[in-house]
């Protein structure tokens, strides 16, 4: 089973078209293994991306160096999945 410890989901706010393009550049960097939950489309629309733990620092540095604002939408994906599993197991046990 694939685990997602340390994976974060970032909500990125691109202020203009240039920033949208920058995020698209990020999307093309396959080695980062980003999983876009909401794709970069146009300024004003949030971009949500799941970032594997090894890429978290690089992605944040990239965004900060281009003045692109973001917030951490999900701090640790695995902890949410654990909660989900726990609830499902509890239900089955009942």
């Amino acid at each position: 089973t694939e685990i997602f410890v340390g994976h974060q989901v970032l909500r990125i706010s691109a202020a203009d078209e240039a920033q949208v393009q920058k995020v698209k550049e990020l999307e093309s960097l396959e080695h980062l293994q980003l999983d876009f939950w909401r794709d970069p489309v146009r300024p004003g629309l949030p971009i949500d991306v799941r970032v594997p733990f090894p890429s978290v620092q690089s992605v944040k540095v990239f965004l900060e160096s281009h003045d692109i604002s973001y917030e951490i939408m999900i701090e640790d994906v695995q902890s949410l999945l654990d909660e989900e599993q726990k609830q499902m197991s509890a239900l089955r046990a009942r």
Partner: protein, 309 residues
């Protein structure tokens, strides 16, 4: 659960549990519900559609599918809830009763069974099918980029490793082909609603081109009514419009194909995430999500039943 009354609709279930639920629902409601197998998945699992019908032959129909993207768990869970809702309300709710007097409803609860099983066993974040691509180690295609409508144009990836890989050719995914064959054979589907999550949108064609659909005015008005109904329950805010104008260019998608087949009332939903949880919507939100979505579904299907073409 011993019956569909004691089934827990407020949690996520495995494919086996959902298929057991389907069988129970059919057994309990033989006068209304039947199960149709429309095909098999790449890995050989049966693909089931529930048919809700009060009788008659050659009737117009509405189609609802949930879970074509396997990780969007709130959609399959909502599909289960919709199925039960139809059986409990069809004699009580005058709108639903009137619809079922004229039309059948088809509901495919798990549209991508292989992907769904994979999300439960191996990778909760899996979105695509599980088909193999010759010459690539990467698995699966995006079944919402695999339809024969602008197939392979911008808004889909030709890279088998991408989450939006369009597949080898249009309908190459058996899960898509099964629906295509069913829709073509049936020939009288008048409303087609494909349900995704998240981001709270109600969308109509097109996704692959920026032209307005010929029925844009009517679809826009209907989308507005559906969203108004949805929002009335819990205040969940939705946007609506064409796919390309509202989110992004997406070629080879389901409802562009259904629209091209003459199904005027072709819509796709992106269900709620009001808590910044994305695809990991807490199970406590399943029932509220399904309840509000049901109001929008009824609005669309009711309109279709009153404006048969």
């Amino acid at each position: 659960a011993l019956t569909t009354d004691t089934f827990n609709y407020a949690t996520y279930h495995t494919l086996d549990e959902i298929y057991e639920f389907i069988d129970q629902l059919v057994t309990e409601n033989q006068h209304l519900v039947s199960k149709i197998q429309i095909g098999n998945t790449y890995e050989g699992r049966p693909i089931y559609v529930l048919k809700f019908s009060t009788g008659g032959t050659d009737r117009p129909a509405a189609w609802i599918d949930t879970g074509i993207h396997s990780r969007e768990w709130v959609t399959q869970a909502s599909g289960v809830w919709f199925a039960k809702k139809i059986t409990t309300d069809y004699e009580k709710d005058p709108t639903l009763k009137a619809i079922l007097e004229k039309m059948d409803i088809f509901l495919e609860i798990v549209t991508n069974p292989d992907g769904f099983v994979y999300t439960h066993k191996t990778n909760r974040m899996w979105r695509k099918t599980r088909s193999r691509t010759q010459g690539s180690l990467c698995v699966g295609a995006d079944p919402n980029r695999n339809w024969d409508a602008g197939f392979g144009l911008s808004g889909a990836s030709s890279n088998p490793c991408s989450d939006t890989y369009h597949g080898k050719s249009a309908n190459s995914e058996v899960e898509v082909k099964a629906i295509v064959d069913f829709v073509k054979t049936h020939g009288k589907i008048k409303a087609f609603i494909s349900i995704h999550s998240y981001s709270q949108l109600l969308l109509y064609p097109y996704g692959y081109k920026s032209d307005a659909v010929p029925n844009k005015e009517e679809l826009d008005k209907l989308a507005k009514s559906a969203v108004t109904a949805l929002t009335s329950l819990y205040g969940t805010k939705y946007k609506y419009g064409s796919i390309i104008d509202t989110i992004y260019q997406a070629s080879g998608n389901t409802i562009d194909w259904t629209y091209s087949q003459g199904i005027k009332y072709s819509f796709t939903f992106e269900l709620r995430d009001t808590g910044l949880r994305g695809f990991l919507l807490p199970a406590s939100q399943i029932i509220p999500t399904a309840e509000e979505t049901w109001l929008a579904l009824l609005t669309i299907i009711d309109h279709a039943s009153k404006n048969l073409y």
